[in-house]
């Protein structure tokens, strides 16, 4: 049974590990969580992202956006590395998430065949 006691132990452990997690210069993952995204499977994508971050112990900002008008491409997930263009991946599956995390987020290579849009750094 998961208990609060376990949570306290976890906190003590994490406090040793994290001296300086701050949001400056962190990679970002943005998931489309509009009605269209949710209907297309965004929650499964989010669960896959959560698992990947846990498995690989990655420090990433995970956030959401609403409907951006590309409903037919949902589920959408964007990856933005610090100082680089924001890449939108479309029609992705939970299985694609691992590949995007490894190839793009960790190794810095855009997964071209899943990408549907590019937003220039500093753009809107």
């Amino acid at each position: 049974m998961k208990s609060l006691e376990e949570l306290r132990e976890l906190r003590a452990e994490l406090e040793k590990e994290i001296s300086a997690r701050n949001s400056e210069g962190k990679p970002k993952i943005i998931i489309g969580m509009g009605t269209c995204g949710i209907a297309a499977g965004a929650r499964d994508i989010l669960q896959a992202v959560t698992q990947e971050l846990r498995k690989r112990n990655l420090d990433v900002i995970t956030t959401q956006t609403g409907c951006i008008g590309m409903c037919e491409q949902e589920p959408l997930m964007d990856v933005q590395l610090p100082g680089q263009d924001r890449i939108t991946y479309g029609k992705i599956t939970a299985k694609d998430v691992e590949r995007i995390v490894v190839e793009h987020l960790i190794n810095g290579n855009v997964v071209a065949e899943l990408a549907v849009a590019r937003l220039e750094e500093g753009g809107v």
Partner: protein
């Protein structure tokens, strides 16, 4: 939407868009009265009176970019299809409460689905928002309040991957217990 938990996630996104800092999700499964009630209450900016009548219209949205907003209309349809209804109570500056009822045993009543996934998703994406989850099945009630969890965490973010891992087990076990799990 295949699951009612996806509608809950969708309505919670409305709360986030309305800048809510507290989202309360209530689920009451009353198989004796044959009633299922789902309520999502927030303290967001609220819906102005003159728009309240329009929000169930799929061709109404408060968004400026596009003219459709399907979330509430779909949820209302899910309730109506199972001998229930959807009610919205909102006050500007105070918040919005969406209540959906269903006949519990209705053949067209969608399954609740992955409630834990919905709750964890809202917390993962919105660590700064306080979420209350209260789920009752007859005499058993599960109540989770992120404020209580955060008070144990100090400076550690609630959506830290290791904390999310703990939280997932905590939530899933809690919900299993409601249904008579060990």
């Amino acid at each position: 939407m295949r699951e009612l938990s996806l509608h809950i996630l969708d309505i919670a996104q409305n709360s986030i868009a309305a800048s809510a800092s507290i989202i309360e999700i209530y689920i009451d499964e009353n198989s004796i009265q044959d009633r299922l009630t789902i309520r999502i209450a927030d303290n967001g900016r609220g819906i102005p009176q003159h728009q309240l009548a329009q929000v169930m219209d799929p061709f109404f949205t408060s968004r400026k970019t596009r003219g459709v907003g399907l979330g509430l209309a779909l949820f209302a349809q899910a309730a109506k299809g199972a001998e229930g209804e959807l009610l919205i109570d909102s006050n500007v500056g105070a918040g919005t409460t969406v209540t959906a009822t269903f006949r519990y045993s209705h053949i067209d009543r969608a399954p609740l689905g992955d409630l834990a996934g919905t709750l964890l998703g809202v917390i993962m994406l919105n660590p700064e928002v306080e979420v209350v989850y209260q789920h009752t099945c007859l005499e058993r009630t599960l109540r989770i309040d992120t404020r209580e969890i955060k008070s144990e965490l100090g400076n550690i973010a609630i959506n830290h991957p290791a904390v999310m891992n703990w939280l997932e087990g905590f939530v899933r076990e809690g919900i299993d217990d409601l249904y008579g799990g060990e």
